[in-house]
């Protein structure tokens, strides 16, 4: 099987509490993998572990991206390599202009890839295409990063970053939380536009609602720090009906 990301027997803790307890997961290129699981199962810890978030200490196991171990890499190195995380709770950074922030990030990645940096006009032209698609008002890009943004605006802004950065592995941590139906539709449209048969998506969610818009190829159930079941999209309805507690019985 062709794999873009391989998570191998990963143990990770936050503070003194072990959250991931021997987690194994492979992501295939071009596929949408959904992670579902009850509260406290370790879903957000998993996303933070993949990107190297400072909250998390990975104690054993390995993560291979395109066949190369990334566990010793800094978060920004992982981002430059093409791993993207859309935060569950995007951070507000007053004083940092949204456009500058994003242009700096995009140009850092272009430089890393040996491409020419985009000047301000080229960048804006590119960005305006996506603003329309995401239904974002143009004043949002000239404001401080996420400051005073509504929940929906923050998530749209995360998707804007994703679209501009063109990552290869996209992790969406509860992208659907706090979204009304219009925002959910706009965000899903942005995500679906990024599908190119090569990029891989890891959609972390509580609810199946988002999966009506972003069709998953695989469903993985995460419970108590491990993937306890992997199946096709048909698993969603089973989970909806019987809940996570039924999974052991299904196995």
């Amino acid at each position: 099987m062709n794999k873009i990301l391989e998570i191998k027997d990963v143990h990770a803790k936050i503070g003194n509490k072990e959250i991931l307890k021997g987690l194994n997961l492979d992501l295939e290129p071009g596929k949408v993998h959904a992670i579902m699981g009850p509260n406290g199962a370790g879903k957000s810890t998993l996303s933070k572990t993949i990107v190297g978030h400072y909250d998390v200490e990975m104690t054993s196991g390995d993560i291979l991206y395109k066949g190369k171990s990334i566990k010793e890499m800094e978060p920004e190195e992982r981002a430059l390599e093409g791993i993207f995380l859309s935060f569950q709770h995007p951070v507000e950074i007053p004083g940092v202009n949204n456009t500058y922030f994003l242009r700096t990030a995009v140009n850092a990645k272009r430089k890393f890839e040996g491409k020419e940096e985009l000047n301000a006009a080229e960048f804006l032209r590119e960005m305006k295409k996506y603003l329309e698609l995401l239904g974002m008002k143009s004043d949002m890009i000239s404001r401080s990063l996420n400051e005073g943004f509504s929940g929906g605006e923050k998530k749209r802004n995360e998707i804007l970053q994703m679209m501009m950065l063109e990552p290869d592995v996209i992790i969406l941590d509860e992208i659907d939380s706090g979204l009304d139906i219009d925002a959910l539709r706009a965000v899903s449209e942005g995500i679906n536009k990024m599908k190119d048969g090569k990029r891989s998506f890891l959609v972390i969610t509580h609810y199946s609602r988002i999966l009506d818009y972003i069709k998953p190829d695989y469903i993985h159930v995460l419970k108590e720090g491990r993937i306890i079941k992997t199946a096709g999209p048909e698993l969603v309805s089973q989970l909806e009906e019987h809940g996570y507690d039924s999974i052991e019985e299904i196995q």
């Binding site: 301000a120 006009a121 804006l124």
Partner: protein, 142 residues
């Protein structure tokens, strides 16, 4: 792309920015592609008199066209030179001599320049027209 089309393209670029500071910053951005001149070409003949910061402009007549190269010392001069050379360089002397400099205002940035910098623009234009005139008369010069 002729001179008018080049100006129209820059107008489109500058129109993307809502506030004047962003427009000025874009000029600085353009300056990152700024080229330099060899030291021996930075002399009294090529010096742009009246520029707010030191700048030099070399004009050469090649195959019936005026080819301009320049160097500025401030970020503003570098950016403006890059933009202006894009408009004026590699044109026939007639194109340049028939060009109405008022068209530069269409880009929406000339009025953002300080009076001193507007004078610099004037000084640049005078030098370009002088080079174009000489080129037309068949004198190749720097």
């Amino acid at each position: 792309m002729n001179m008018e089309e080049t100006i129209a393209r820059y107008k489109e670029d500058f129109d993307l920015f809502e506030n004047p500071n962003d427009k000025i910053e874009y000029i600085f951005d353009l300056g990152k592609k700024h080229t330099t001149l060899p030291d021996e070409q930075k002399n009294d003949t090529t010096f742009v008199e009246g520029c707010a910061s030191a700048a030099w402009l070399v004009g050469e007549c090649k195959d019936g066209k005026l080819v301009l190269r320049g160097e500025g010392t401030s970020e503003m001069a570098k950016g403006m030179l890059t933009l202006l050379l894009d408009i004026f360089s590699d044109r026939t002397p007639d194109e340049i001599l028939h060009f109405d400099p008022a068209k530069l205002h269409e880009m929406g940035i000339v009025e953002l320049l300080s009076p001193v910098r507007q004078q610099s623009l004037e000084a640049f234009l005078n030098k370009v027209y002088a080079y174009a005139q000489k080129c037309k008369e068949g004198k190749n010069n720097e």
